[in-house]
């Protein structure tokens, strides 16, 4: 099964190789989808390929090491049929998950979405929806 975890680093945890260490302790396959790190905080979005028990173990290990790991239980979907490609959502999306193609159509890269939900009320025609997994 694939799960999406949002990892929040405290400033103290930032310069330690925690993720690498934890990954070695599990058989989970981890894919970094998006990372935002600066001196004061860090957020990494990862996709995890592993059986449910292994995901639980991974989360336990991360938390023990001072990383707040949250499983994202929902997904954001863009209904391309009703989307106007107006772009009102673009500058609000913190990760670039909402982006434009060459022909100026607006698309959503679900892998990069951290479910902040800012885009949802900002869409004038309600083309972005939250769905539960």
């Amino acid at each position: 099964m694939t799960a999406k975890l949002l990892l929040r680093y405290s400033p103290e945890a930032l310069d330690k190789p925690i993720l690498a260490r934890v990954i070695r302790q599990t058989s989970a396959e981890i894919n970094i989808l998006h990372a935002e790190l600066d001196a004061t905080k860090g957020e990494i979005l990862v996709g995890v390929e592993a059986p449910p028990a292994e995901i639980e173990k991974l989360m336990y290990l991360l938390k023990k090491n001072g990383i707040d790991a949250k499983k994202l239980e929902r997904a954001v979907e863009l209904d391309e049929n009703s989307c106007l490609d107006c772009g009102a959502c673009l500058s609000l999306c913190p990760t670039g998950a909402l982006h434009t193609k060459k022909d100026y159509s607006v698309r959503l890269d679900e892998d990069k979405c951290i479910l902040c939900e800012v885009c949802i009320p900002a869409c004038p025609v309600r083309a972005i929806k939250i769905t539960k997994f």
């Binding site: 673009l90 500058s91 609000l92």
Partner: protein
């Protein structure tokens, strides 16, 4: 010298010979071969825009009920959205910003118009006061666009020539007609279709005038007059447009909600520009890097918002603009993709001989300017009503000092500043009350650091709204240097309102 006539171009359209290109294509052609040669080769340049246009609406005629009812002077609701009743018995105007009485901003006049065009059933609820000729007082029925005698889209102001871009200097998110503006210059929004913007392609109004046939909501419509707030001297012209709603296509008319601002209608609108002479061609050849607008700070709640900088459409469209040395992401609010589609569709109509140009019977004014509202009373500024001088505290002072001040002076807010009077935080009587019995000693330990502030030059109304939004009773007032110069409370404001009423 190139001179063409409307009749000449229409003859070529009839013969399938007319050369028609979109404005985007024309800019490229002119770049390669020069505007003069391009003027010779091209007959018509098509434009297009697709944006939320709040000054829009539709006239509808329901026909008479039996027994008849006079809705004029009464009330009309379409899917619970109030429509205008200052007309005769069964005529109405539904404006796109009118909000549903049951769904609020989720559904409004713009959505009613979209649903009509989609052929959906609409609930009509109305009442009248009853007369000898119109005895009936209430009506409730359902209608579709096919049941109406006329349904005419008629917007007093559409297709702004260009539009200023928006950003926000404040430390809170703002919800505006320019979309969601993130705090601390977090994003920039803009509207308009750049090179495709219809009025921007004929900024001297040599071809755009009363009676000109246009693309409106997927059908053929007309320019009816100059738009309200038409301001060609500043490069902000507008047009009044009119067209048959019954022929329109819901792809080009979309009801929308601008978050925490209101409802509106996205309209696809395109105007053909005949290249009658070289001057017109030159104006139509201007590239996006030459179309400049001001980037305004919507953080200032005044009519004349401060200009942050000048930006070009080319920069805005690139997705990032520089604001105070930082790259800031941009959001177009008009759909460039659909603007392109409108221009393309109009081009195809002309090429297929389905759309002919009509010479305007009257040109629009080129020298009108947009006046502000006449106000009989000046809006007071915060500095005129604030309490001053203000007593402030230092972070290292004991909590007991605040308690003493509150008791002696009968107020509840103590701004905490550094030695230069720069604001650091605020302590309220409530903070002091809940700190008693705890180990906390210094004011710095109990102060709120994220303080909502007002500037002394802001209008009182803006500050009243801020107090209400944050559910607080007072806030410190700072000058442009960030020094605390006073305090303004809900009480100061109610006193003022009392004074205004007298």
């Amino acid at each position: 010298m190139v001179t063409k006539t409307y009749e000449g171009i229409n003859q070529r359209i009839r013969e399938g010979e007319a050369v028609v290109v979109t404005a985007e294509e024309f800019v490229e052609i002119a770049r390669e071969r020069g505007a003069k040669r391009a003027a010779k080769e091209v007959d018509v340049v098509t434009t297009g825009t697709f944006g939320a246009m709040c000054s829009s609406g539709a006239f509808l005629n329901f026909g008479h009920a039996d027994p008849p009812i006079k809705l004029g002077g009464g009330e009309i609701y379409l899917n619970d959205v109030p429509a205008y009743t200052g007309l005769a018995a069964v005529d109405t105007y539904i404006g796109v910003t009118s909000l549903s009485t049951t769904k609020g901003m989720e559904y409004g006049g713009g959505h009613v118009i979209e649903d009509l065009v989609r052929g959906k059933e609409i609930t009509l609820r109305g009442s009248g006061y009853g007369t000898d000729c119109y005895p009936r007082k209430e009506i409730e029925t359902t209608i579709t666009i096919h049941d109406l005698n006329q349904a005419v889209l008629c917007s007093p102001r559409n297709a702004y020539q260009r539009y200023n871009a928006a950003t926000n200097s404040r430390d809170e998110t703002l919800f505006t007609y320019m979309g969601t503006l993130l705090p601390n210059f977090g994003n920039v929004t803009f509207s308009g279709a750049g090179v495709l913007s219809p009025l921007g392609r004929d900024p001297n109004y040599e071809t755009i005038g009363v009676g000109a046939r246009i693309f409106l909501g997927g059908a053929q419509g007309y320019i009816g007059w100059e738009g309200t707030q038409h301001n060609p001297t500043k490069g902000f012209g507008t047009v009044l447009v009119i067209g048959d709603l019954k022929e329109m296509d819901p792809r080009y008319l979309r009801g929308c909600t601008i978050h925490r601002y209101g409802t509106s209608l996205y309209i696809g609108l395109g105007i053909p520009i005949p290249l009658l002479n070289e001057r017109i061609a030159e104006a139509a050849a201007v590239g996006e890097e030459q179309i400049k607008v001001n980037l305004l700070d919507y953080g200032a709640p005044r009519r004349d918002r401060p200009v942050v900088r000048e930006v070009t459409y080319a920069e805005l469209r690139s997705g990032k603009v520089e604001v105070h040395g930082r790259e800031v992401p941009t959001s177009p609010l008009s759909s460039f993709k659909l603007s392109r589609e409108v221009a393309q569709k109009l081009k195809e109509w002309i090429q297929r001989g389905e759309f002919f140009l009509s010479a305007p019977v009257e040109l629009l004014s080129r020298d009108s300017a947009f006046k502000p509202m006449k106000q009989i009373a000046e809006v007071p500024l915060v500095r005129e009503i604030m309490t001053k001088p203000v007593i402030t505290g230092l972070p290292d002072e004991p909590i007991a000092r605040a308690a003493k001040i509150f008791a002696e002076h009968n107020f509840d807010h103590l701004p905490i500043t550094d030695k230069q009077e720069k604001l650091l935080g605020i302590v309220t009587s409530w903070d002091v009350a809940i700190a008693t019995g705890t180990k906390k000693k210094k004011l710095s330990e109990i102060m709120t650091k994220k303080v909502v502030v007002a500037n002394e030059d802001e209008p009182v109304d803006a500050v009243a709204r801020r107090l209400q939004q944050h559910g607080i009773s007072g806030l410190p007032v700072t000058n442009t240097k960030g020094e605390v110069v006073g305090i303004v409370t809900t009480e100061d404001i109610s006193k003022l309102v009392g004074r205004r009423r007298k």
